[in-house]
Amino acid sequence: MTLPRRSHPRPLDLNSGRVDLTHGGGGRAMAQLVEELFVAAFDNEILSQGNDQGAFSVPGGRMVMSTDGYVISPLFFPGGDIGSLSVHGTINDVAMAGAVPIGLSAGFIIEEGFPLADLARIVTSMAAAAKAAGVPVMTGDTKVVEKGKGDGVFITTAGIGMVPAGIDISGDKARPDDVILVSGSMGDHGIAVMSQRESLGFETAILSDSAALHTLVAAMIAAAPGIRVLRDPTRGGLAATLNEIASQSAVGMVISETAVPLKPQVLGACELLGLDPLYVANEGKLICICPPEDAETVLAAMRAHPLGGDAAIIGQCDADPHHFVRMKTAMGGTRIVDWLAGEQLPRIC
């Protein structure tokens, strides 16, 4: 869950409006739904910080808690499945506070008639992902709905973790002149999922980047405890996530088009499908914002980790009063990298 602090031209129509797919797309419509309904109703300081996890003090330190629902279609895709994704995604939301994940819960909503073999494949994959990450699934829930009332299986996981002493990472901490880094190539997950959609029928060698990032985070904060912001650019991709951070931190940003790592296959698929790779989802990448003096140290720590080999510095924050995220294009011009309007790819996570 992410809350960008911004106002919207027109308030949500709570009397006669209806939920449409844009309300789950990771763009402005979703931000508005979260802001004007959920945050307003649940009204508390922790939620209002607008991070992908809530951080709170407990005896002995600070804890974080996060939850995420997984409705991806198709359930199995190159490089992963809904099971491993539901483990990685929630571990990552916990880790983006700089926290060490402790454990997960898992809730299943299963459609009547769903093959047990597929369910077993998903659960086995979940168990393997949890074991590999060293983060156990500690509790769970199972519900079955009538045929036609769900689409195969939906999974919700929640995670908890402890923040090491001295670490204070949050989406509102970016400052002008801070440096923006990404841990690797953008858009792999979204394109891998898209390639499996029946209606598209294209083949690609791209695998989803789905991965648990907590060990990468641990290596980064060990090298530079002063890291200000970490966030994984899932739905809405790099573009949406940078805009969320810019508005939370009240800064502008300038990134360089030529510095953003992109695989040629992802670029090719985006070209064919008319997508902008900056808006395509990732499930095993993170964005890091740190003070300029830490940038090289963080970059070296990322590159030394197996999940950060293609890490790159992509830009810098500035004091733009409009909090625009801008990009220097390869052509030498400048353009805005805006929020995603509507939804680019439905149900990619």
Binding site: G268, D320, A330, G332, G333, A341
Partner: protein
């Protein structure tokens, strides 16, 4: 990416821009209309305005198929989606275009109508095959580029013997729209809109060829350069137009020679001619009723024509009064001249069609260029 990267080379772009700067006469201005939304999008997305000299102005034209469809036709599509057993399918952008009463296909879908996005016309045919008890209507829109695929879909449905596949045809023609702009009082008599030359369509021209533009170049004495949609294509076309204007020439030149010939795609043209005929007039958003500017399905294929199968409402519905899409589509106004721009009209809540498609002038300026406005709304 081979055959793409070559046309997005930053160094070449800087050289081209520098050469345009040298060749453009500093004593005059150059107002060049890029007809196509594809060009508008490329100009905004690659920030080309930043590297063109200050006296070269790009005027955005009406060539965005989503943008020019009038409110009445959107309402008609929503009406069709509400008929018994209908599955209405169309290209993605159409779903968000506002009709009247703040409805859109996307909202109609949320209210329970069966509306689906397809990537190709053949997906629509497959949908009809897979749902024999339903009536599948393909909401067909677009210029000459998307017309042949619609024709192929009808042929395919015929070959498969489908009786539940229909096309709601809204295909429009580029040359009539360009003539309408050049004939408009703002250009022809009042001179309030200065148009010194045109960047001609890329994909449309692959079908119709460069020959149909020869008439305007001659009749209206304006140079036309057909150009591809990549940033270097646009810059090269600007340089070719500047040269023609400097020389006082008004020819049709083809920058997009890697894909466009003088005569176009004969097979596609004959397929379209076989299946469609001209409508006497068709309403365009922004341009009003334009004579002989759109196609309808010929009698021989009547069984596939949604407008013959249902009594589709033909009402003309007025745009929102404050919406300037019409003037923007004619090049008379810029997006920032519209009071709604960025206030209540944004890509999430578009009031006018120019804010819907990524190729629309308003959406392109909002999405990529609004940081240049002195009073930019806060992000």
């Amino acid at each position: 990416m081979k055959y793409i990267d070559e046309y997005r080379d930053g160094e070449l772009a800087r050289q081209l821009a520098a050469s345009i700067g040298q060749e453009a006469d500093s004593a005059r201005t150059y107002h060049l209309m890029e007809f196509c939304g594809g060009h508008t999008h490329a100009i905004s997305r690659y920030g080309l305005e930043d590297i063109l000299p200050a006296n070269v102005h790009m005027v955005h034209g009406p060539g965005c198929p989503v943008c020019v469809l009038p409110v009445g036709r959107i309402d008609a599509a929503i009406w069709l989606a509400g008929q018994a057993d209908v599955i209405l399918c169309t290209y993605g952008d159409m779903l968000r275009v506002p009709g009247s009463k703040r409805l859109s296909l996307l909202k109609a879908k949320a209210e329970g109508r069966d509306i689906r996005m397809v990537y190709s016309t053949l997906d629509a045919v497959k949908l009809a095959q897979a749902n024999p008890a339903r009536r599948v209507v393909f909401f067909a829109i677009g210029f000459e580029t998307t017309t042949p695929p619609t024709a192929v879909a009808i042929k395919q449905a015929q070959a498969l013997g489908l009786t539940n596949f229909f096309v709601f045809c809204n295909h429009v023609l580029t040359p009539s729209a360009i003539a309408q702009i050049l004939d408009s009082p703002e250009v022809r008599e009042l001179g309030t809109v200065k148009l010194d030359g045109f960047i001609g369509p890329a994909h449309v021209s692959t079908i119709i060829g460069s020959q149909p533009y020869e008439y305007f170049a001659e009749e209206y004495q304006r140079p036309v350069v057909i150009a591809g949609f990549e940033p270097l294509d646009v810059l090269q076309a600007v340089r070719m137009l500047v040269r023609q204007i400097n020389d006082g020439r008004f020819a049709v030149e083809n920058e997009f020679s890697r894909a466009v010939t003088r005569d176009g795609n004969a097979k596609a043209k004959s397929l379209v001619a076989d299946m469609f005929e001209l409508r006497k007039a068709f309403e365009w958003r922004g341009l009003g009723l334009v004579p002989y500017s759109a196609l309808r399905i010929k009698h021989a294929y009547a069984a596939f024509d949604a407008e013959r199968h249902w009594d589709v409402p033909q009402d003309s519905v007025a745009d929102n009064k404050a919406c300037e899409c019409g003037a923007i589509l004619r090049g008379v106004k810029k997006p920032i001249d519209c009071k709604l721009f960025g206030t209540i009209c944004t890509p999430e809540n578009p009031m006018g069609s120019c804010m819907v498609s990524a190729e629309g002038a308003c959406a392109a300026h909002w999405t990529y260029g609004r940081f240049r406005d002195t009073k930019a709304p806060t992000a």
